[in-house]
Amino acid sequence: MNIRIKELNKYFNKFHVLQNINLDIRKGELIALLGPSGCGKTSLLRIIAGLEQPSSGQIFFNEQDVSNKDIRERHIGYMFQHFALFQHMTVLDNISFGLRMKPRKERPSSAEILEKAKHLLDMVQLGNLANRYPDELSGGQKQRVALARALAIDPSVLLLDEPFSALDTKVRRELRQWLSNLHHEIQLTSIFVTHDQEEAMEIADRVVIMNKGIIEQIGSPKEILDTPKNDFVYNFLGETNHFSVGEQNFTFRPHEIILSIHTEKVGYFEAEAIDIRPLGAVTKIILKPKDDKHSIEAQVPNTTPNLNRLNKGDKVYFRPIMDFEI
């Protein structure tokens, strides 16, 4: 299903949370709503779901205006940030809840419901935990139950509110990949909210970057990284170094740097290495430029020649590779 959002505005009292939002989402896309906290991304997701009413504007599902439709008529699958599982029901009952709540004439038979719930359980790889209660599950398992529960009603769109934020780093990485694969498998239009740019870049087809209630940029991860529309987008997408010498200003990412321990090369600036941190594949070096009071973060591959000859306090010369002039 494709989704179109047209001139959407939302006020909370006097606070203009969403300002004139226009957004087209194509069928089968995985979209990330990315932005700092308070940028309105969760409000937008809740409005698409029907949990919140917009102050003005329209939402179309497949060219059909659903702005005034009740949440139950929109057939959406929604996964809550802390999963909101029903604590007093087993995993199986949680998953089959949506099917069992259907009006009598639409409701599948008990056997069909059971079969469907079992199928979903297998899909989320929890087949052996059908009779557990939510408080007996780990965070990652809860997340998958919540996902299976949302998918049980065959939603036309899947909405995920910070789907990975309640999990620890390792589980988060695994599930991220798993969700991405699942999305490829079932081709369901999906929108997820996140404040983690890495997460958005890793699994989304397109990323919508939001800030203070407006959309700053929409594009594929590559487009957004290669051609950030403005300072906000550029700064938000990763660590940024600002360096100025005389009239020249440089803005660059930590990895967009060449270091040298040899003196007096053209285009290089002098600095002192005030901290060196090996992080595995890359080594992080904090530089204190001679001509600027702000320190610079450099990330170089740990295979860089002569890197282990560099010590804290040594003189280093650096050159920004790609400059984004302001």
Binding site: I71, R72, Y78, L85, F86, H88, G98, M101, L114, N131
Partner: protein, 289 residues
């Protein structure tokens, strides 16, 4: 039997001893005295007192008025608790503090006020087509008045604990408000609701001050047990009063104990099992662990 884990409050044995001595002095000792006094009574005397018809009708009245009062109080109480925790409105703080007033107000004053209102010529009573004051209904109203705080205050923390997102989740899954209440809210609240109910019922059984005014205390009609005890005392029938007190104690204890047992058994998931199996297609054969 006694286990002591590391705790920020030191002196487990000291505090246990302290607690037990105070409990004995304030609660157990008077009760023991009652039992001691009652033990002097002969069996045939006991049977004679207990088989008294006035006593039996007072017992019946006491039981059913306090049951209905507890039921009403815990239903109104749930609405009030829900309103106070889930909604904000003008005057909420005021209502919140007013709920505890029946605990502070001398119950006799509540009784007099209610009687004045509900008497056949009173402010409310004169508009009602049926009698309230001087009937069992009046007794129930007085009991509801004094027990409402118990039901509201027991439910409030539990309602606060149910995250709003759980209700929203049910909504996104297509559940109607009624279904959300039946399958989600009700099973989560019911065990606590039962606590409120039993507290209210226990308090109603022992209520004297407010009922004595509104009931008119007509034997066989509107005389409840506590009033009967006091009238026995007025007639210097200490033995009779003691026996009835013992009876009340035993009944109250049995009631509270029974409700406690039910509560142990009724867990939200059992309730959902019950509701599901009575009206919906089942999914899992083994719903309760």
């Amino acid at each position: 039997m006694f286990t002591s884990r590391y705790s920020v409050i030191p002196g487990f044995w000291l505090s246990l001893g302290y607690t037990l001595s105070w409990l004995s002095l304030i609660v157990l000792l008077p009760l023991a005295a009652l039992f001691l006094y009652a033990s002097h009574i002969h069996l045939d005397q006991l049977i004679h007192i207990l088989s008294n018809r006035q006593l039996q009708s007072a017992l019946k009245l006491s039981l059913y008025t306090s049951f209905y009062a507890a039921l009403l109080a815990s239903i109104f109480g749930s609405f009030l608790a829900w309103m106070l925790t889930r909604h904000s409105f003008v005057g909420k703080k005021l209502i919140d503090s007013m709920i505890d007033l029946p605990l502070a107000l001398p119950t006799a004053i509540a009784g007099i006020a209610l009687t004045t209102l509900y008497a056949p010529n009173g402010l409310i009573g004169s508009f009602l087509p049926f009698k309230v004051a001087y009937t069992p209904l009046g007794i129930v109203i007085a009991m509801v008045f004094v027990t409402i705080p118990f039901t509201v205050r027991t439910l409030e923390p539990i309602i606060k604990d149910i995250p709003h997102s759980v209700e929203e989740a049910a909504k996104t899954l297509g559940a109607t408000p009624l279904q959300t209440f039946l399958y989600i809210i009700f099973p989560m609240l019911f065990p606590t609701w039962l606590t409120g109910f039993s507290l209210a019922m226990a308090r109603s059984l022992g209520e004297y001050g407010s009922v004595v005014f509104i009931a008119a205390n007509i034997p066989y009609k509107t005389e409840i047990l506590p009033i009967l005890i006091v009238s026995k005392l007025d007639q210097f029938d200490y033995t009779g009063a003691t026996v009835i007190s013992m009876l009340m104690l035993i009944i109250s204890f049995a009631l509270l104990f029974a409700i406690n047992l039910i509560q142990r058994w009724i867990k939200p998931h059992r309730l959902i099992w019950f509701i599901t199996h009575s009206s919906l297609p089942r999914t899992s054969k083994k719903n309760s662990p």
